[in-house]
């Protein structure tokens, strides 16, 4: 096999892996702080895509305002969802918050998808190219949209890692992850941090959706594949680990891309799934374990 093609596949796998990492980042946050599984995570990706599309085509915003605008919109929707539906998890100190969140968020998937189909219609939408044209990077032709996605994904992932380490809120989220009771004693308002964390996780998903909208299009069912990828990243990288999300996403992206060419293109997604399964079998904690 040609070295040139192999190198290009690795680079493209790396690129798509960073997008996966961004998708998984929100779940890492949710799992760590709220200790819940959110099946509607992919739907916020979808909503972020639509938000960017309509902010550009209807409101006329440039992309560098539309993408943050999409993140703000999905933050707000996420925060409202948390306050309305998920507050009982920490206020009532449930025995099985995972089960409750599972049922509620499954219902939310159906609601958001059907609502999106009614409101936005069944069409595949593409916002105008954020950065038109192609650019040569390491000898590979990459679209301006992909380069922007790479840079923005890297900034968001690394920025989140910094935020978790260096800011008061980030430290309080890590404290909640270790011990809710202990965090309360230290003055952390669990109720307030919960909706902020949930909103932030949704904003990260929305940001991913907004960034890749010109690459992969937006539709009411666009949230399905990213949800699966997010959980695969979580399993590979390790629950609660941002570094794991980054490395896990990249590994998944490269494995799938190479697997599609050297094993089978029809089973590209299955190859990634098998890769994740190997981690679950032999390295169940993921690359970087439970918490960071």
């Amino acid at each position: 096999m040609e070295c040139g093609m192999f190198f290009e596949l690795v680079v493209r796998g790396f690129a798509i892996g960073l997008v996966y990492a961004l998708m998984g980042l929100g779940l890492v946050l949710l799992n760590g702080v709220l200790r819940i599984i959110n099946f509607a995570h992919g739907e916020f990706y979808m909503l972020g895509g639509y938000a960017a599309y309509y902010l550009m085509t209807l409101v006329g915003l440039p992309f560098f305002l539309a993408i943050p605008g999409a993140m703000v919109a999905t933050f707000v929707i996420g925060a409202i969802v948390e306050k309305l539906l998920l507050t009982p998890i920490h206020e009532k100190q449930m025995e099985k918050p995972m089960d409750y969140a599972l049922i509620i968020t499954l219902g939310l998937v159906i609601l958001l998808r059907k609502l999106a189909a009614i409101v936005f219609g069944p069409f595949y939408r593409k916002p105008p190219d954020y950065i038109p044209g192609d650019f040569l990077v390491l000898g590979i032709n990459l679209s301006g949209n992909m380069i922007l996605t790479l840079i923005a994904s890297a900034i968001l992932v690394l920025g989140m890692a910094y935020y978790m380490r260096k800011t008061w809120r980030g430290r309080s989220w890590r404290a909640i992850t270790q011990s809710q009771g202990g965090a309360k004693i230290m003055g952390v308002d669990i109720s307030r941090e919960s909706w902020i964390a949930f909103g932030t996780a949704c904003a990260l998903a929305g940001g991913a959706g907004a960034l890749v909208a010109p690459l992969f299009l937006v539709s009411p069912t666009a949230g399905g594949p990213p949800l699966l990828k997010s959980y695969e990243v979580l399993a590979i990288g390790g629950m609660g680990s941002i570094g794991g999300s980054l490395l896990g996403g990249i590994l998944l992206g490269v494995t799938e891309t190479l697997g599609a060419v050297y094993i089978s293109s029809a089973y590209k997604d299955a190859i990634g799934f098998v890769f994740m399964s190997l981690f679950l079998l032999f390295w169940p904690g993921g690359l970087f374990g439970q918490k960071q």
């Binding site: 040609e2 040139g4 093609m5 290009e8 596949l9 493209r12 796998g13 798509i16 998808r113 059907k114 189909a117 069944p122 069409f123 595949y124 939408r125 593409k126 192609d134 032709n141 679209s143 690459l215 992969f216 299009l217 539709s219 009411p220 069912t221 666009a222 399905g224 594949p225 799938e256 891309t257 190479l258 599609a260 060419v261 089978s264 293109s265 029809a266 089973y267 590209k268 997604d269």
Partner: protein, 390 residues
């Protein structure tokens, strides 16, 4: 006291039994319309299916119905899922006692539905579901006006030969439609000395670049890329083919119809959409019978847009059901199935007969006309595209 209570109970049930049954809905002829009406099914097409059948039924009822009886539609949503589609067919047969079923869409769903209808002995029609499997089961209750994969491949190969394409890559979704069409084209192409390379992908795939890069890196590069998809890949493959540099050197044949009418095509492709070819069963050259001319006029009068080709085939189905019931003098599903075998109906685009030979030609119409069009200007509508074949 006790005997008085019993007396009242007997009188009550006696009244119930003796009361007239009200309006005898059993007089109506019921036709099941099972089609995608919600996601993840293609509910855009489903809506057009509903509009087509409603128009046909309205016209039939204006003329007194079938056998002097009113025609009533029983609608059900298959959501584009085989399990839901099969259950919907089962329900409209068992609960609503429909005489026939129309409207099926997605190939994978259709295969599940055909098995149920065959088992329950009710005719089911397919107006645009392509898997060969639907008719290779040789059921007495499955009737297809739609073209089918191996027929389409055989109709398309002369175009490939005429244009001199020697190495054809087919990127196909791994569904009954996609894989069936790709394999049929490979077989038909090979018989004419054309090398056909198949690349499958999961139907909801978003990143098709690995496969496109592999095609680009091949020693003998493909001179044509055929797209066989119904989800977002139908837009993403042409788009990403340009992004990896496979196109425009490798020409694109976008299957099927959609570049000519889809509002998303130009939004996704922009200028790169110019020059793309697409196969279709419709074009300004399509020969219409008098029923077709009537339908072509009546549909936009009611719905304010032109009907796609599959609407013609679906309209034919409803009219053929009416014709067969009239010949059978019955709406009984079994008698209807028997009468349908002898159909010779002046349909919208040709004389419809249900041939029985071998393989997928079983209760199958084969009178389709295939065209290949090419978009020659930005934001061009299908009716203005160049007809490059035949």
């Amino acid at each position: 006291m006790k005997s008085r209570v019993w007396f009242l109970v007997i009188v009550f049930f006696g009244i119930l039994v003796l009361l007239p049954a009200g309006t005898k809905a059993a007089d109506d002829i019921k036709i099941g319309l099972v089609t995608p009406l919600s996601a993840p099914g293609d509910y855009e097409a489903g809506k057009i299916n509903v509009q087509t059948v409603e128009l046909a039924v309205e016209q039939l009822n204006q003329k007194g119905g079938i056998l002097g009886r009113k025609v009533v539609l029983v609608k059900a949503d298959d959501e584009g899922k085989p399990a839901v589609g099969a259950t919907a067919v089962q329900r409209v047969i068992a609960n609503d006692k429909v005489s026939a079923i129309v409207g099926a869409w997605h190939g994978s769903v259709a295969v599940a539905q055909a098995k149920i209808a065959d088992k329950m002995g009710v005719p089911i029609f397919f107006h645009y579901s392509w898997p060969d499997d639907l008719t290779t089961m040789h059921s007495n209750y499955v009737f297809r006006i739609s073209p089918y994969n191996s027929q389409i491949a055989n109709l398309l190969v002369p175009f490939l030969v005429q244009k001199g394409f020697k190495n054809v890559a087919v990127m196909h979704e791994t569904t009954a439609y996609g894989t069936g069409f790709a394999e049929a084209l490979a077989k038909a192409g090979k018989a004419k000395g054309i090398n056909v390379i198949l690349k499958g992908f999961p139907s909801e795939a978003q990143d098709l670049k690995p496969q496109l890069l592999e095609l680009k890196a091949m020693k003998t590069k493909a001179d044509l890329l055929v797209v066989s998809s119904v989800y977002q890949a139908m837009y993403l493959i042409p788009k990403q083919a340009y992004e990896v540099g496979l196109a425009p050197d490798t020409k694109i044949l976008a299957g099927w119809d959609y570049p000519g009418w889809s509002p998303e095509w130009w939004e996704v492709m922009g200028e790169k959409g110019v020059g793309v070819m697409y196969p279709t069963f419709d074009s300004p050259k399509l020969k219409l019978m008098s029923l077709g001319e009537q339908f072509k006029k009546a549909f936009p009068e009611k719905y304010k847009f032109d009907p796609p080709i599959y609407a013609y085939f679906l309209y034919d189905e409803v009219m053929i059901i009416a014709d067969a019931m009239t010949r059978a003098k019955s709406s009984d599903p079994k008698k209807l199935a028997e009468a349908l075998k002898a159909t010779r109906f002046n349909g919208t685009t040709g004389v419809v007969t249900f041939e029985r030979k071998d393989g997928p030609v079983w209760n199958q119409w084969t009178g389709h006309q295939l065209f290949v069009l090419q978009l020659t200007a930005l934001k061009q509508a299908g009716k203005d595209a160049a007809i490059i074949y035949p």
